[in-house]
Symmetry: C2
């Protein structure tokens, strides 16, 4: 049995994408999870933070600042002495993480992010959506108590009204608090069907309600979440050449338009260059290590980066 990694160059060119790309099948290392007949890539030997005690909870706050709450889930990290930088210390980061498996490549990227930003003196909060069993469906349950109009349910209007009177469901309010406090939002996920996984899309749908993230004529550069930064960090099944202009899968930036521009920019959040790890499951262990090192290096100077010009030109020029 072969996967995309085993395809010859000719086949790669002919389909310009792997059969598994769209579902992110190979977007994780997941040692041993691949079909057996194929050469087995090994998981990058980075210790995975223990998850015991976090089941059903899934979010945690890690801070290097004295007195700040520490996470059971990431205790291994908080053992390290913080090396504060005057520009980064005290910055608050929310990582919204959507992968089922901590041993995955996405899990390694998450761990590095938490570790590196904590070292810098940042306060890091993780919303681990699968571990939280986060609800992606936008329903009447998101409003506590009676509806504004119970005759015909309009999710947008009802959540807007509920936000104003403080009657959104507890899980939504908790995520909104995390967003409100954050200087930087990092979204970490494997690409699923040219897009984020449904569980993460549900986070966007339910958390970024009108009144909180945008409002009447308060959108794009006037959005209510102004002053924050965002960064989309994700893995793909296909290689970088497969996601370039002129191929059948097109430029990777086409895919980023609805996410970066349609959501973050719409809410007034500035967007940093995305961080894309192409086909980590299809490359050597050495190359995967290089990818992780590159992410660590980028994080060291992340706060010096300028946001992209989030206009159609950036995506479709």
């Amino acid at each position: 049995m072969r996967t995309s990694c085993a395809l010859g160059e000719e086949q790669r060119r002919s389909i310009k994408n792997t059969a598994s790309d769209a579902l992110g099948v190979h977007a994780v290392t997941a040692a041993g999870a691949r079909p057996r007949a194929e050469p087995e890539p090994r998981a990058v030997p980075i210790p995975i933070p223990p998850r015991s005690g976090s089941a059903g909870k899934g979010h945690s706050r890690i801070s290097a600042l004295p007195g700040a709450p520490r996470s059971r889930q990431y205790q291994i990290i908080s053992r390290e002495a913080p090396q504060r930088s005057p520009t980064m210390a005290g910055k608050k980061v929310l990582i919204v993480y959507a992968h089922q498996e901590p041993k995955s490549f996405n899990g390694s990227l998450l761990k590095i992010t938490v570790e590196e930003l904590t070292k810098q003196g940042c306060s890091v909060t993780v919303s681990d959506l699968y571990a939280m069993q986060f609800e992606p469906r936008a329903t009447r349950n998101d409003i506590v108590g009676p509806l504004h109009n119970s005759e015909a349910f309009n999710y947008g209007v009802e959540t807007w009204e509920a936000y104003k009177r403080g009657s959104l469901s507890k899980d939504v309010v908790e995520e909104q608090k995390k967003v409100q406090e954050a200087d930087l939002l990092i979204f970490q996920f494997p690409l699923f069907w040219f897009n984020m996984p449904a569980i993460l899309k549900g986070w966007m749908d339910r958390v970024l309600v009108q009144g909180f993230a945008y409002d009447l004529s308060k959108a794009y550069d006037g959005g209510l979440l102004q002053g924050k930064l965002s960064l989309f960090s994700f893995t793909t099944g296909g290689s970088q050449e497969m996601y370039s202009k002129g191929t059948i899968s097109g430029d990777i930036r086409y895919i980023l338009w609805p996410m970066q521009h349609g959501i973050m920019h719409f809410c007034g959040v500035k967007v940093l260059e995305p961080h894309i790890c192409y086909a980590p499951a299809c490359v050597s262990e050495e190359k995967r290590k290089e990818m992780l090192t590159a992410w660590t290096q980028r994080l060291k100077t992340l706060w010096k980066e300028e946001p992209i010009d989030c206009s159609p030109e950036w995506y479709f020029k």
Copy 2:
């Protein structure tokens, strides 16, 4: 309190989109669900099929062919005598529907689709995702019995393996059967954040697994769902001019790339022109009726339509 409908032309130009666009706040008629100070658009007076008896089930099959199962949910429709056309009779249509409210504009569009296609002698199946409480999260629960590799969970690999050995979860298998039988897939939804709602994205993530919808080097024109047609039918909060080239929200076709090309085309499904009802909640009742009539008219000759050329040129030219 004003909504986007009440914004002046200057404000519209300045933000080039409404504050509620991204969440589809006004993508439904939902009479009475809008803030009270605003002129109240009325729901289009189209009878809504009774939903009693369908709670927790949500999918139904309607067929005008003798002996075919009839739906309780849409009995009102099946009372009408079918007017079969030799070219359409017997065609099977699956509508994947993602709106919480049957009285919404999306609900009216759904009803029209079922009614018109049934009249033509088609067999129509509806997956009413919210009514079904469809699970959007891609988790280990989608695999019945032991995993291929329980050491590190890889959703793509596990569902691929489970598909081959017939051990995907019941709800996924049921949706796959509907897809397999269908000649045409219609996706009916309100635009949420430049994209489909999470519940519909979850349908894509979980139903279109490797081995079923695509496979090794069987993607795009070689995808496993060849021979089928698809159509994305959706409502927006913003007007047509707000979703055109040169505006901050960009051409509506940019948004369609991940959905039409990245999912349907990837699986080998041909794509018909999308059907977009712009800002139904912001126009007059007469205009809304015209929109519904236009959809009815389009459905009458739908089977004569040629698919679009689903290449980057169509989206980004």
